[in-house]
Amino acid sequence: MNVLPTAIISGLGTGAVYALIAVSFVVIFRATGVLNFAQPGLLILGTFATSVLAVDVGLPFAVAVALAVLVVALLAAGVERVAIRPMVGRGMFPTALVTVGVFIVLLILAFRLFAAKARTVADPWQLNQLCLAQGDGTCAVPVYHYTVGRVVVAAVVLVLLGFWLTRSRTGLAMRATALDQEAAMAQGIDVGRMFSLSWALGGGLAALAGVLLASTGSVVQANDALFALVALPALILGGIDSFRGAVVGGLVIGVVTAVTAAYQPVHAPWLGPNFENVVPYVVMIIVLLIRPYGLFGTREVQRV
């Protein structure tokens, strides 16, 4: 098995999911100025909803995913209305703490719903593989179906999101709100509704990412939610308010993690086991040293 191409391709797969999560952070941050620490909670609830709809109720996978995304989007909009709207104008730091409180509540809810059971999402990919290049005897570059699924689904969704933001009226309204809330209000845009919409979008994207993360052919438990925080370095290295940066950051982190996982235990074991979980932060620190606002982030302009 050819190690490097396999690692890169599987890294692109996880990178696509990180990109989805990072974009969900960016959508919320651009519209409301809040770094939403509750995304992992929404992510795992999306996984749970899909699991219930696909396994217990028996709906087809695509339908179950669509419904789950809708449910979590509604939940996210509700959270915004209840917990975040009162914090308008209060600054980023306390609002981030409110999202942490919401995260605790959502996480406990997820634990209660999972009820100590492991669940599957009945995805159509399971552990099937396809072979990109034959080697001697065995497959030289095997690719799991779920890797392809992740890349395709993430790409389609992000392209659709991009079109919607740039071409539709509501998308334009959201971008206006993200740019300048007061001016947007003056133009007649319902800024409150834009807030809820952006949170709904962010929640939906997180739920979709959760389903994709759970499609590994194994089972998923409630504490897998905490893994979503690995999207933070992807978000930061791309620039916290840039969609392009989020996608690039996600893919970069995914590939770097996979390559490190493949090579580090053999070539640099002194770095310790599971060093690939720390590599995203190392990359992020290096990028921040060179570009303190991330690769594509807008430089903060200070006026005295």
Partner: protein, 464 residues
Amino acid sequence: MSRSRPTRAVLALCAAGTLVLAGCTAVDDPGTEAEAEAPQPSDEAEDTGSTEEPQETGAAQITIGDGVTEEPCPDAVNPDNGCIYLGVLSDLTEGPFAALAVPITDAQRAYWRQVNEDGGIAGFDVDIDTYTRDTKYQAAEHAAAYQQIEPNILAIAQSLGTVNTESVLGDMDANDIVAVPASWWSGYAFAENDMGLIMETGYSYCTEAMVGLDWFAENHGEVTSVAAVGYPGDYGGDSAAGVQLWAEANGISDVTVVPTGPNQVTGNQDAVVSAIAAANPDVVLLAVGPAETAEIVGKLAAGGFQGRFLGSLPTWNPALLQSGAAQALIGLYNHLAPTEQWDGTSEGVEAMKASLDGEEPPNAGYIIGWVMNYPMHALLEKAVENGDLTRAGLRAAIDGLEVDFQGMAEPITYGGDGKEVAVSGVIVSTPNPEAPLGVESADEFYHGATFDKVDYAQACSATS
């Protein structure tokens, strides 16, 4: 004057403090337990009409101490009985072992409810609900919860996590609190590690590795290379140490150790998969969780791996048969356990099944939790026989205590060191969708030759 006043005040305070400190004298901690003579209320237990044979201990008095009261338990089954309070320190919400620990605790509650319905122990009901605390698998929470419940309990019925138990072991030693651990570290067999306070059930992970590999060599042909995959700490560390000991004793030099972590920390097990694929051993011993097991076995099988897998006690969950790795698990994986599984035939298993009215629990944690109660039950009864139902009495009664687990697990005689207390029988199971809880287990305990050859004189893996 204003500048020197605060300085003078501070100096005065320091002088006062030093005076007080100088007046300190060290005293030995006076015992805070109020030992009271309590008449044995066994006559009242007989009056409740239980079918149990009446206590024949005559008019002997039982000394009771902290953690035992003559007042009935809250929501008592037998309102005329006194109450023995047992503590439970487990991971019941957010930690990585909540999936296993919740059924363990449920099984314990069911067991002691059954004991109470049968009349209790020597006129005392046993309460394990009041002092159940969630530790989230963190040593800090465990220590704080232990501090909270310690004054009111007689012993600890479940202490989850080796590190957590170790963090309060010194205090337990000072207060004579015995405990049954929900962890299988090899160090518990040695008095230097557990101070004679811990009543382990089943084998240790270290022993499991040795006897499991013996079984494998006997049933699946000669082993030339072996790999150990595990979480860091007493779980994976002990298991890997066992694999190393087995390899040394059997002249195998090709041993690969792959440390990893749960998926919430590492995201996926791809690093493990590539390391095992590269090492290509004959057998892989897994000391991870169920999700990781499914991923490792499934992906390696899909990649053409030819070896087989042995999974430690916590690696199985019936839900794995619905995952994509189900076929691979059925074909290549065996589960190791120190007790009979749900399809066992012993008296203990029958009693356990009866407690759930024939329904299946969510996972095998229920079996673990059921088995853990036998030592505590036997200890309480022996203490009653000795007439000393105090903490010190319980601690003294451990020496020589024989527990037969109603056939579910191998009998243990506590109080010795090393191989005197360590058991090494394993029940090997194969995944089977038709069987209860998804595994079909062997009929009897298997013993291997390697354990007897090995010098089991200290803990296999250190805890610094």
